[in-house]
């Protein structure tokens, strides 16, 4: 999986290229529109992932424990976090899909999620549906399921932090408003985003092994432009 970290970047590039070729095809004019390319739909969205830190419920805090049975447990834990424990992080994504039904588009989504100290690129298979395609305003729904790739920093390498990404699930619902006759539209959606990730920090010399499993559960709010 480590070798796949370049994959999201490639996918994103492909998506943007298809967009470009689509635009070129459009400008090349009306005579012979290639069937497949002309039918592709796009949606670029950005917004926020809202969440908060779950309450921490440990039985003991090792460094302060004087319970004899645990006396020597002396791992220095994460420091307490005294700041605001509600987070709002920027998210950006682009969907390219094909209409498999007049109300349903299927395709791929890739983007960037900026968590507090990690950037994750989720790449997912997406289904987007417009409940009432004919109306100017229609409820919409979507489901993205994929894998989030985590970006590693130089500091991680220096500190022997081996980060990994994980499962991403993002159902959402909202409304779309047509803004032109060519099918372009504005849309807003609210959803739930689960992003798993984690890291390992193993120090065999010190006989210390650490695995952290992260589960970001966020409320996603996005504004998008479809074309």
């Amino acid at each position: 999986m480590k070798n796949l970290k370049i994959f999201p970047a490639i996918l994103l590039a492909v998506l943007l290229l298809t967009e470009k070729s689509f635009a070129q095809n459009q400008s090349q004019a009306t005579k012979s529109k290639p069937e497949f390319w002309s039918k592709l739909v796009h949606n670029t969205e950005m917004g926020f992932l809202l969440g908060e830190q779950a309450a921490i419920n440990n039985n003991y805090n090792p460094i302060y424990s004087y319970d004899m049975s645990k006396m020597a447990s002396s791992i220095y834990p994460y420091p307490y976090y005294y700041g605001d424990d509600r987070y709002s992080n920027f998210t950006f994504q682009h969907f390219t899909g094909y209409p498999v039904h007049k109300a349903i588009n299927m395709g791929l989504t890739a983007g960037f999620d900026y968590y507090r100290s990690n950037i994750i690129t989720p790449v997912s298979v997406s289904v987007k549906s417009t409940l009432v395609p004919s109306k100017r305003i229609s409820p919409i729904g979507s489901l993205d399921v994929g894998y989030g790739f985590i970006w590693k920093s130089e500091a991680d390498k220096v500190n022997n932090i081996d980060k990994y990404g994980g499962l991403m699930i993002n159902p959402s619902a909202g409304f779309r408003i047509k803004v032109g006759n060519d099918g372009s539209n504005l849309n807003i959606n609210v959803g739930y985003k689960l992003q798993q990730s984690g890291f390992e920090n193993n120090r065999p010399d010190e006989k210390f092994y650490l695995t952290e499993k992260r589960s970001f559960n966020r409320l996603s709010i996005r504004l998008g432009f479809g074309f």
């Binding site: 809202l50 969440g51 908060e52 830190q53 779950a54 921490i56 419920n57 440990n58 090792p62 004899m68 049975s69 006396m71 020597a72 447990s73 002396s74 791992i75 220095y76 834990p77 994460y78 420091p79 307490y80 976090y81 424990d85 987070y87 968590y115 507090r116 100290s117 990690n118 409940l131 409820p139 500190n159 932090i161 619902a173 609210v190 959803g191 739930y192 920090n201 010399d205 010190e206 006989k207 210390f208 092994y209 650490l210 695995t211 952290e212 499993k213 992260r214 589960s215 970001f216 559960n217 966020r218 409320l219």
Partner: protein
């Protein structure tokens, strides 16, 4: 439409309630667990066991054809080393809390936590406890942990290393990765050194070059030393002399208080050289029952076994990345100290080393253990140019202490015991090795 909208609203509200980041850490680490040993149990007597393999070897001691290897806090392996190419396990002496030993004739002195046990080893396969000096040590440090005598409850409180796995909840992206410090029995130890310190703080015994032929020879990490009719033992903070003119009945003599952090003792001629974490103490033992302080050579805090030859003392200082059991020091070096005038020891020269531990001298050869960096052999014919006269280097094992004797070199480390023939120090021959069995 209204129904679907309210349905949507409900749908999201349910999500809002559960939108919380959850992070858990699974930490696996070494730590210590207290255990109590009652004095009754401790003094229940020692016994013979069968010896098959080294597990956690500590100090080594040689007496005639016998080689004694301490199994940290468990006892002593007795090995027939009459043929160094093929050493044979003879027996194992179960001595709870043992880390040090010294032998005169057929009498072995071994520590057992707070006591010193006198053992008749005439027949190592069938040993007997002759005597016991109680309450010699009040505490001791081995294997990275410090035990102490709890007189009120008539017990020894010791700690054993265990591997623990904890699953704890943490703040997601808390930003600081955990720093670990091991605490063994109330004393902080640098983690990387925790299990290695076993050897530096445990002991063998250096009976010293001035000792009569009847006693054996230990390594530089020894806490026991024998000079003629006297046995010297060092605890963390005291020098304890014993009169052993009656071998089976050692008489404890008034203790000499030293600073905390005493690690090794090296008797040489009529002096006792005591290595501590803060320096080297030189004691005059012209009156063996009352060693007299002559001087203290101070240096930055570091671990330091010391050996002496002629007018120089050779002290190794080991760095532990700025923080450690032996204190703050940022250099790994061998210090050459002029002790011609023992009241005014002076530093002559320092040589860079990689992580020196025990050392041994068989003039003109100087053997220096470099911990996990192996072992180096120098010629000390010209003590001022030791660094320019490296004869050999071994990197394939971890070495903590050495005993050079009669052209045979014994090297002990976490990996086990290695014996070399150094008749030609540039071309040393491996005679045999006893590898530790990792449990």
């Amino acid at each position: 439409m209204k129904i679907s909208r309210s349905f949507l609203l409900l749908f999201f509200v349910s999500f809002i309630w559960s939108c919380k980041d959850k992070c858990t850490q699974i930490q696996t680490y070494r730590t210590t667990k207290p255990k109590q040993i009652s004095l009754k149990e401790l003094r229940g007597g020692i016994s013979n066991g069968s010896s098959v393999s080294l597990e956690k070897p500590g100090k080594i001691y040689i007496k005639d054809n016998y080689l004694f290897i301490n199994e940290i806090k468990k006892g002593i392996h007795v090995i027939d080393n009459s043929n160094p190419s093929s050493p044979k396990f003879i027996s194992f002496i179960n001595i709870p809390g043992n880390i040090d030993m010294a032998v005169v004739d057929n009498i072995m002195y071994a520590d057992s936590y707070t006591d010193i046990v006198v053992i008749d080893i005439t027949n190592p396969a069938k040993i007997g406890e002759l005597n016991r000096v109680e309450k010699v040590f009040l505490n001791g440090t081995a294997d990275g942990v410090t035990w102490y005598l709890d007189e009120q409850n008539k017990q020894i409180v010791d700690y054993e290393w265990v591997t623990r796995t904890d699953t704890i909840e943490v703040i997601c992206e808390g930003g600081v990765y955990p720093q670990i410090y091991y605490r063994g029995g109330g004393i902080f130890y640098e983690s990387a050194f925790a299990d290695k310190s076993a050897l530096s703080s445990s002991s063998g015994s250096q009976s010293g070059t001035s000792a009569p032929g009847a006693s054996g020879k230990g390594g530089s990490m020894a806490r026991f030393g024998i000079v003629n009719d006297y046995l010297y033992a060092v605890s963390n903070s005291e020098l304890i002399p014993f009169n052993i003119s009656n071998l089976a009945k050692p008489q404890i003599l008034p203790k000499v208080n030293l600073n905390w952090g005493i690690e090794t003792i090296f008797p040489y001629k009529d002096k006792l050289f005591i290595g501590s974490t803060t320096g080297m103490h030189i004691y005059d033992n012209k009156d063996p029952a009352k060693p007299k302080w002559l001087s203290t050579y101070n240096h930055f805090k570091a671990c330091d076994p010391v050996v002496v030859y002629d007018k120089y003392a050779y002290v190794t200082l080991r760095s532990n990345n700025g923080f450690g059991r032996c204190g703050v020091v940022n250099s790994n070096q061998l210090d050459l100290i002029d002790i011609e005038d023992p009241e005014y020891p002076t530093l002559v020269k320092s040589f860079d080393m990689e992580g020196p531990a025990g050392l041994g001298i068989d003039y003109p050869n100087l053997f220096i253990c470099e911990g996990d960096k192996g072992m180096k052999v120098f010629s000390m014919a010209n003590p001022l140019e030791i660094d320019k006269n490296k004869l050999a280097e071994f990197k394939n094992f971890e070495a903590y202490d050495v005993i050079p004797l009669n052209k045979k070199l014994m090297v002990i480390g976490k990996d086990g015991l290695y014996q070399y023939d150094y008749s030609d120090p540039k071309n040393m021959k491996l005679l045999s090795s006893i590898k530790s069995v990792v449990k």
